[in-house]
Symmetry: C3
Subunit: 338 residues, 3 copies
């Protein structure tokens, strides 16, 4: 990035206060920014903005007495995304072209400008859309398909027949399409139930590092469009995750669980096998959900209950010492009266 | 799969009701099945079976008024396993032969019909039994051994001297034989204790995606025959897991913990370092086990206690609001009496 | 290892009791040790030491009537580390040299005696210090740097611009430098915030198998010198972990969380986004920390509170049945008085 402050201002559609010829080379956060950096300030950080050592700051309103150049925009964070996207473009070094060491199976179809990193492996019958990038040391099993403009980072394993949409990102260390965990108990031994379904991942999905998505026993495990899943999450066999749901780190979806659209699971939430959360449910961090909940429920706890009930319960537990004391007083009172 | 309904019936040893010449091409679940599919119904789903759009349904008893062909068998799910196994055989595309890009160290011994996928790596002195398959981009360190008919999926890492039995499956993303987490605290710094033991995994074991099994400090971390471990689980150094135990997702076995035979850990169960659970123990989901328990214990909670105690405790906590009210009433009662 | 007992004694600076010519070939734990093994006994295990079948035992004081040779040292475990280090040296089979199948990008600089395992991949502009070892099937993105004497085990993925110090160990299955989990909610959809910061890992750090460390949105995610992190842990974007802190398995550091120096997180501890734990804090197993705590705090629970408060609370919950009974007695007492 090598832009004058004036160019930055034009790029974000802002109003420049002060001179515009200084050069900006990096993005940085408000507290870390120094000379050569451009940053932004939310409305609650105007004081910090005034003292910023950055070369330029995107601000929501004009600030008096400020050393850095000011660029006034309605929503500084939103405007700043344009600069982040620019920085990302320069930082990223996606593989380009098909590396000589990549291994491509029979009957593979590759779209325009597909990139395969070093030692990437595509099984027989794989289909990749235009501009999709597979990073080094990743493995796609036979008959996988990936749409256009998708990114599969390094050391990802897709088993056979997994389908991934367009503009979808799968981060390093993910294992997609592993066998669901299904056994029949026969005389104290566990007899494996073959897992012959598949996994279907939609468009604009993002799956964080080291996640697992198991293939269905039969039918499909489905992650709909726009779903975002954070690191270390586990989507068991036959789950369905509705569009635009968000699962923060260590989401643990038991077998055949279903999330509606726009569900939010905060970090470290587990769902018992077979339950359903309706559209727009919100589940607080660390919850263990043991039954289905209708659309719009806001729940918390282990086992999860309505958030206000859980919060009341936490308060009551904190006050237990006082309760014990009250009961002891009452007992003493009774004795005194004797 | 291309079978007539009559052929399916013979295959599962069932009694065919209705014509047998229709073709069946896929397995599917009862609710998803359509024309060309064969499915099965448990006794509690006979109504759904009657309405099924499948071509054929395995049923436990004859159903009146059913569009699909019926195949009556004593245990439909069990009989259906035969068809699942058939479907699996057709779906799987295991690597065959030794891929040209596989790297094989010195003094490696390979059994008959071993398959090594693209970019698989075998360290010096590895020994693989007949028909064992190593998928692409997996790494076996020096002096590892794997028995016969075992499967190691893509992007698995085995460190040196790990031993794996026969008919054992290790899913993608597993890391087996990493150093145990052991340090001596010396003047505020953590001095690494070298981890020079190994890992020994038995026959008929299955380890889900992205699990970790650490090598012992000395001696061996042991997973006995028939153990099944679900995704994201962690077996620390010097653990021993008894035969046919089952660990559902995110099992967290602290260092030197011991499970007897046929133990069941439901999902998201953690065990504190050094404790032992006897044969046949059952631990409920989300529990944190902080002490040893004798054979046959059924426990739940954090810290775990006998399941009936934990359930009673949950009920008591839910009724706390009523208890507070009762105590307040008693206090008022006392005052009124003054 | 092939040493006489006398040689072992000299090596650890001990006092040999009994003959010194027997051969020792392996290290083992006290309970597992047999002929040919050397082991050690802590002060609380002197009885077991007397009965040990090992060839030699490091003991803290002379023991009467002992079959094995005794080597008396002040701190047997500490002295034993010397033997463990020796055993490790013999067991390890680090890759040596640059494997022909390793892929090295443009403008890469390699120190003396760097080793690259089979199918290892270094992106453009990577810099590796002397004697650093990259195991097979690991991937370093563009412009990564690793110091000297560091170890990156198999199937590790480093994204671009990750910096790793010297004498640092990263175990198999880790994903370092993945995008932080950041989105703007715009009309029910999640718009990705580009993550253009980096990750900086210090010297003498150890990161267990299958951990994730996300790159910062801007600036850096930082792991300072001497930090030890156990398997399956998650360091989100913009975290900072102070020197010599120790995180046991499944540590879950939310975005922008900060740990001071010498913090201890026991297993399965989660931290809510944005909070800070001061130097020397200790957090008990299974805790969910929802607010910042000053240096030296010792906390436990979900939500975490001072450890003594949490322990008192656990006791009070256990006594709830007695409390209910007392209140029922009081009610009955009141009625009787009527």
């Amino acid at each position: 990035m090598k832009l004058t402050v004036a160019e930055v201002s034009r790029l974000v559609g802002g109003q420049l206060i002060g001179p515009g010829e200084a050069m900006v080379e990096r993005v940085a956060s408000l507290s870390q920014a120094g000379p050569g950096d451009v940053t932004f300030a939310r409305r609650e950080n105007l004081k910090a903005a005034a003292a910023a050592r950055a070369t330029a700051v995107l601000v929501p309103e004009r600030i008096a007495d400020m050393a850095a150049a000011q660029i006034v925009v309605a929503n500084p964070y939103f405007a700043f995304l344009t600069l982040l996207a620019l920085a990302e473009k320069e930082q990223r070094a996606h593989p380009v072209g098909i590396h000589a060491s990549a291994v491509i199976g029979a009957d593979v179809r590759l779209g325009k400008d597909v990139a395969l990193g070093a030692h990437a492996v595509l099984g027989d019958g794989c289909v990749l859309g235009d501009r999709t990038v597979i990073y080094p040391n990743s493995t796609l099993g036979a008959h996988c398909s990936v749409g256009s403009d998708s990114l599969i980072y390094s050391n990802v394993a897709l088993r056979e027949q997994v389908s991934v949409g367009s503009r979808t990102i799968i981060h390093s260390g993910c294992s997609i399409g592993g066998d669901g965990f299904g056994y029949l108990q026969i005389e104290g031994r566990h007899v494996k139930v073959p897992q012959v379904g598949t996994v279907e991942i939609g468009d604009d999905v993002e799956i964080g590092c080291n996640c697992t998505v198991d293939r269905a026993t039969m039918d499909k495990t489905v992650i709909e469009d726009g779903v975002k899943i954070d690191n270390h999450s586990h989507i068991a066999h036959n789950c369905r995750i509705g569009a635009n749901s968000m699962l923060i780190a260590y989401a643990r979806m038991g077998g055949s669980t279903v999330l509606g659209r726009n569900v939010l699971l905060a970090e470290d939430v587990g769902l018992t096998n077979g339950i359903t959360l309706g559209d727009g449910c919100i589940v607080g961090a660390g919850s263990k959900v043991t039954r289905s909940w209708p659309a719009g429920s806001v729940i918390l706890g282990a086992p999860a209950q309505r958030m206000q009930d859980e919060k009341r319960q936490i308060v009551m537990i904190k006050k237990l010492a006082r309760l014990y004391e009250m009961v002891r007083e009452l007992k003493r009172g009774g004795k005194t009266e004797d």
